[in-house]
Amino acid sequence: MGYNPDKPMDGRISDLGPPHYEQFFPPVIKANKGKWLWHEILQPGVLMHKSETGDEVYTVRCGTARLITVNFIREICDIADKHCDGFMRWTTRNNVEFMVDSKDKVQPLLDDLKSRGNKFPVGGTGAGVTNIVHTQGWVHCHTPATDASGVVKAVMDELFDYFTSMTLPAQVRIALACCLNMCGAVHASDIAILGIHRKPPMIDHKRITGVCELPLAIASCPLGAVKPAKAEVDGKEIKTVKVTVERCMFCGNCYTMCPAMPLADPEGDGIAILVGGKVSNAKSAPKFSKLVIPFLPNTTPRWPETVEAVKKILEAYAKDAKKYERVGEWAERIGWEKFFEKCDIPFTEKSIDDYRLAYNTWRTTTQFKYTSHIK
């Protein structure tokens, strides 16, 4: 049987939801759910969880590109079939995890993974760098200001040793979002790579009629930069919009609402670096990432400026922070003026907030440290 276009509603099934998770549990997981007592990371990428039943589960975590093919998934299935009773899982950061129920099964699994070239790097645990949460970029989306998978590959190649080791003061979470919509949720990452536009939208008057609801386009702009206007198209006056460019901060929301207002541009677009965000409630409350480098160009295919910037920050942090200290906790302890100095990042007025709640970020105390910024 199969889908019959002539009777599309015949036999249609809907609202099934996802499959029940339990059917996919490896046996040791099924037997011990809710009974785990403690865990230990035996080596980078290898976790052991101990159950009150005495059982143990060994997890081997591998980095992936996230953008993967069915070919590749089948290879993952092969490995799972061979070592893990046919089960596996993915983490919330796009790593794949293979689980075995006894210690002696770990090394054969590791050996197998290793034998497959650079496809299954083992790591991403503990005080290291794990996989970069990221988004579509030029592979799929219509609004990106940079690519996603390409930048991630370039950065992870450079940080690879941090993925396969646990030498940092704490876990470092890197994320990438290719535009201000922030599907990569970079707003709360230790290091965030954010695609940004820097040119105001063009108005495609020829196309705007029909594809845009003008009032929605006008309302979309948080700064009121989109205004009603008229234009001549093919000799006829049409209703359209215009943009007050001095008020535009390139958020792209107008383009989301109106396809006739593209902003992307080879020169205008690039990457901003934000740092110091975190999600967990451990020690300190969740923190937003802060903008420290306002712009780096889209130098394809390997974004050397971005790779370099991320590495510089990571290394300054690795050198200076205390054990357990997340990047943001470190920056706050030493003071942001010292952060810029230690990371050797020039401070620009672009890092000074001038949006809605800006006053809260102004320094309203005499407490500051002397740095090279003070001449």
Partner: protein, 426 residues
């Protein structure tokens, strides 16, 4: 389909990190449209700009979500990706799979789509990347009929909920995140598939305050495990840590020599509430001062465990920065029980109250966190019929701009200015 030259992308084949370029090239052997994926991406690398058109409304009958339409803006160059819609397939809780299940999905996607995926999307779905409009219904038919599976969410509706691994492999989980995620996903299939909300809405479930699914940053309703009673201490294990016999932080720091474990420096002094101390060789915790931040437990997993009276905190309103700046979720219910036995009744009741209100007052494209900001937290609390409690705020207001309702003020608001003037000459 033609093989394209990809000199820029080729440079992404070297290096230790897995290369999606290599993977795509290998897939192209059996799925030639992958050449066009590589081709259009190479063009973007050259032009430093995307080559996808804005949006495109496609879907399967009866669903308002689950598919994101996409068309190439250079279709003549890359006909294989002229249509390149993504399909969001709802993932199972915690993203466990059997190879049997995945192989079947791979076969389906090879048949109806490009053979390219994201495992997984940022929200949590299985993302099947790229197919033509005419393939959508056949794929959906097979997915439902052959695999008994379904699409996830997109558009102004409930998005596919997600959860941390929870009790299935984590000793700290304070409730069954998998079951909660599954139950609520099943219960709200209609809300997932048929847009009825002012804007998107997300649930995420973490088993403890470490928040491994980033619920507090990325979901409109964030359900984060916590406990009510005392942290459970195994004093013998504490001694082992002090003696250096157990690795600190579960071995997470073993790659560098940080010196001998120092419980004072590493645990007691880093406790944000300063509620721990050593006494007679034992570790003591004043649990009434503890904010259950997890730090001490994280550092000494063999000695410390969350309490036994478990449940969750519910926080509301996280979102990305468009338009008013990013928001974390705000603590609204400090503690609720989370039990599958009563179908998570307390949570469900709260969720539906939030929706009823937001669907009524939320503006088009206004996330619930934005609606909360617009009406103010006091109003939100009132419409939720909750008692205002100090746990909802970091600190009390510092401005004096309090609204008073007429009925709160003796004598009401109506006054007679003539009467006033009789006593107070102008």
């Amino acid at each position: 389909m033609a093989k394209h030259e990809t000199p820029l992308l080729d440079q992404l084949e070297s290096g230790p990190w897995p290369s999606f370029v290599t993977d795509l090239k290998q897939q192209a052997a059996t799925k030639p449209e992958c050449w066009d994926i590589l081709g259009i991406l190479e063009l973007s690398f050259k032009d430093r700009i995307t080559h996808w058109k804005h949006g495109g409304i496609v879907g399967v009958f009866g669903y308002g979500g689950g598919i994101v339409g996409r068309y190439a803006d250079v279709p003549e160059l890359f006909p294989g990706v002229e249509h390149f819609h993504t399909v969001r397939v709802a993932q199972p809780s915690s993203k466990y799979y059997s190879s049997a299940n995945l192989r079947q999905l791979c076969d389906l996607w090879e048949k109806h789509g490009s053979g390219v995926t994201n495992m997984h999307g940022s929200t949590g779905d299985i993302i099947l990347l790229g197919t033509r409009t005419e393939n959508l219904e056949p794929f959906f038919w097979d997915l439902t009929h052959d695999m008994n599976q379904d699409l996830g969410g997109s558009g102004s509706n409930l998005r596919t909920p997600a959860n941390c691994i929870g009790e299935s492999r984590c000793e700290w989980s304070c409730y069954d995140t998998e079951e909660a995620c599954y139950k609520l996903t099943m219960q709200y299939q209609d809300e997932i598939h048929r847009p009825a909300f002012p804007y998107k809405f997300k649930f995420k479930f973490s088993g403890c305050p470490n928040d491994c699914v980033a619920a507090i940053a990325r979901s409109d309703i964030s359900v984060i495990g916590t406990w009510k009673d005392d942290i459970r201490i195994d004093q013998a294990a504490v001694k082992e840590y002090i003696a250096g016999n157990y690795p600190s932080n579960g071995g997470a720091h073993s790659g560098r020599d940080w010196g001998k474990f120092d419980i004072t420096k590493e645990v007691i002094d880093l406790c944000p509430t300063n509620c721990m101390w050593m006494e007679g060789g034992e570790l003591k915790i004043d649990n009434s001062e503890c904010t259950r931040c997890m730090h001490c437990i994280n550092v000494m997993p063999r000695a410390l465990r969350p309490g036994a009276e478990k449940g969750a905190s519910v926080l509301v309103g996280a979102k990305a920065p468009i338009l008013d700046g990013a928001q974390f979720s705000t603590l609204v219910l400090p503690f609720i029980p989370m039990s599958a036995d009563n179908d998570f009744e307390e949570l469900v009741e709260f969720i539906e109250k939030v929706w009823d209100w937001w669907m009524e007052v939320g503006k088009n494209r206004e996330r619930v966190g934005e609606t909360m900001q617009r009406v103010g937290l006091p109003t939100f609390i009132k419409v939720m019929e909750l008692e205002p409690i100090p746990q909802m705020v970091k600190e009390p207001r510092s401005n004096p701009y309090v609204f008073w309702a007429e009925e709160e003020v003796e004598g009401g608001f109506e006054r007679d200015v003539e009467e006033f003037r009789a006593k107070h000459a102008a």
